[in-house]
């Protein structure tokens, strides 16, 4: 593969059709310097070997007839004047098939391109599965590639940081337990200016509903908390929020296929629900 110059807006020479404006992201640019072909090969093969035993992974590979009927399902494809490189099946081709074909022996530059495709050009929205005559789960396949990229550390910086935060604190924006409870109490006071005797019950055992906001709500969008408090109080719901970590319903781990963090977040919520003997959980995300 020939050297690539950033100026051309082409990140790899593997496909001449693939033209993108360069975007700087430390998560990609710095990690890629530390990668070697051997490292990539190891990770790719480890993940693919697990994949070989998964029907959800193998069936699409062996079924897809390359008919590109899924292409018009994707908003990326339509938004870019039907650029074939944005079609769902093209994304699978440029990432997964290529990795399989070369048995993971690819350059770090190539891997960076792959990461960009799976993270920044697909939302795993599953619309393409609805339009494929076979109902192939493309989102799942691209998710597998995200998993490879995640293990290699090739993840956009912002989302990686939020995932680290989740794995350390079980919320997405490095809030401490103190911050969280403070915010709740502060919001309670705020809303009282409008609605009498509003309560945001914290850690109430046996409540009907546990509400799990998104991590951004207490940090930058507190009005969501205020509104929820209003609604809950007016409706007279027996509700609560959890005081302990595990109140955030964001799950960035899911997006980058960091299964470990993902499961811990889910567990955190369920643990809290169990601890407080909650009947139902409302997750904003």
């Amino acid at each position: 593969m020939a050297e690539v110059s950033v100026k051309e807006g082409v990140e790899t020479r593997d496909w001449i059709e693939l033209k993108r404006k360069p975007v700087a992201d430390i998560g990609f640019d710095e990690t890629v310097k530390n990668l070697t072909t051997e490292k990539i090969e190891k990770v790719v093969n480890a993940v693919l070997n697990i994949g070989k035993n998964a029907a959800r992974f193998m069936a699409p590979l062996e079924t897809c007839i390359h008919c590109a009927l899924c292409s018009t399902a994707c908003h990326w494809y339509l938004s870019h004047d039907k650029d074939p490189t944005y079609a769902p099946v093209a994304k699978v081709k440029m990432t997964l098939w290529e990795l399989i074909k070369r048995k993971g022996k690819v350059s770090p530059e190539f891997m960076k391109q792959v990461a960009r495709i799976v993270f920044c050009e697909c939302n795993l929205c599953r619309r393409c599965s609805m339009y494929c005559p076979f109902g192939l789960d493309i989102a799942y396949q691209l998710g597998m590639v995200r998993r490879i990229c995640f293990i290699l550390g090739l993840v956009p910086q912002n989302i990686l940081d939020q995932t680290h935060s989740l794995s350390a604190t079980l919320n997405q924006l490095w809030l401490t337990q103190g911050d969280w409870i403070d915010t709740m109490q502060w919001q309670e006071e705020e809303v009282r200016a409008e609605i009498k005797n509003v309560r945001i019950p914290i850690d109430k055992e046996g409540a009907d509903v546990m509400w799990c906001p998104l991590g951004t709500e207490p940090k930058v969008a507190t009005y969501h908390i205020a509104r929820t408090a209003k609604i809950m109080n007016v409706a007279g719901i027996d509700w609560t929020v959890s005081a302990q970590d595990g109140w955030d319903s964001a799950n960035m781990g899911m997006f980058i296929r960091d299964m470990e963090t993902m499961q811990r977040v889910v567990r955190g919520i369920y643990d809290n629900a169990m601890r407080l003997k909650i009947k139902r959980v409302v997750l904003t995300e």
Binding site: A55, A59, T63, H66, A68, T72, P84, V89, K93, P133
Partner: protein, 224 residues
């Protein structure tokens, strides 16, 4: 080469053991492949619990009837061609008069057959559809981008039995006998390759649709 093909032993081989082998490989291979996939699926935690017969059939039905899913409606030309192609592909070999005669000679059973004229038209349709698919692969940018050499290969595998059969029937191009031999070879080739190439979509279609249908159905959504 010519003499070789004219040799009656070739005809006998193709007419006898080769067809047998092809059918055995086709049936055995298909069962093996489906079994493998179902077993794999069983191992996965999130596939089996979601499977639901009713939801699967619902999804299958919507996609097996032309224009009954949104994507079929969005692409009328491709849909028409696809359905004509596959109907011809599946119905024609089974109900062709000549095939029935052969089967009758071998086993003494026969069933309802298509008239010769209709068969001829269907063969032409299938051939035409193959050409359409090939042109689509070459000229539609989104299809060309995801086309590998083996896409042409499987298209050719589907195409050859029909073109040779068609030519043999009309006795064009090559002597009848040779064409028939070629036709049988390609037909067997198609049967043998179905389970082991992406022509296997014929088998997996029902599995993948069933999975997606059940999964979406479970989430109170739909996938057509």
């Amino acid at each position: 080469m010519y003499d070789f093909i004219k040799d009656p032993s070739i005809y006998n081989f193709v007419r006898g053991p080769l067809v047998w082998i092809a059918f055995l490989v086709f049936i055995g291979g298909s069962i093996y492949k489906i079994r493998e996939m179902v077993l794999l699926a069983k191992k996965e935690k999130v596939v089996y619990p979601y499977m639901d017969l009713k939801l699967s059939l619902r999804s299958l039905l919507h996609w097996l009837i032309p224009f009954n899913s949104r994507n079929w409606r969005l692409r009328p030309v491709v849909t028409t061609v696809t359905f004509l192609f596959h109907i011809g592909l599946v119905i024609l070999p089974v109900f062709l008069l000549a095939h029935n005669v052969l089967i009758y000679e071998s086993w003494g059973i026969s069933w309802w057959t298509l008239s010769e004229g209709l068969s001829d038209i269907m063969a032409m349709i299938v051939i035409g559809c193959c050409i359409f698919f090939a042109l689509r692969r070459i000229f539609a940018p989104e299809v060309r981008f995801v086309t590998f050499a083996d896409d042409y290969l499987i298209l050719a595998i589907a195409f050859l039995p029909f073109i040779t059969g068609f030519l043999a029937y009309h006795q064009w191009l090559l002597p009848h006998k040779i064409m028939v031999i070629l036709h049988m070879i390609f037909g067997s080739l198609m049967l043998i390759t179905i389970p082991f190439t992406r022509l296997g979509h014929m088998l997996y279609f029902f599995l993948t649709r069933a999975y997606m249908g059940s999964d979406q159905g479970y989430r109170h959504s739909k996938d057509w």
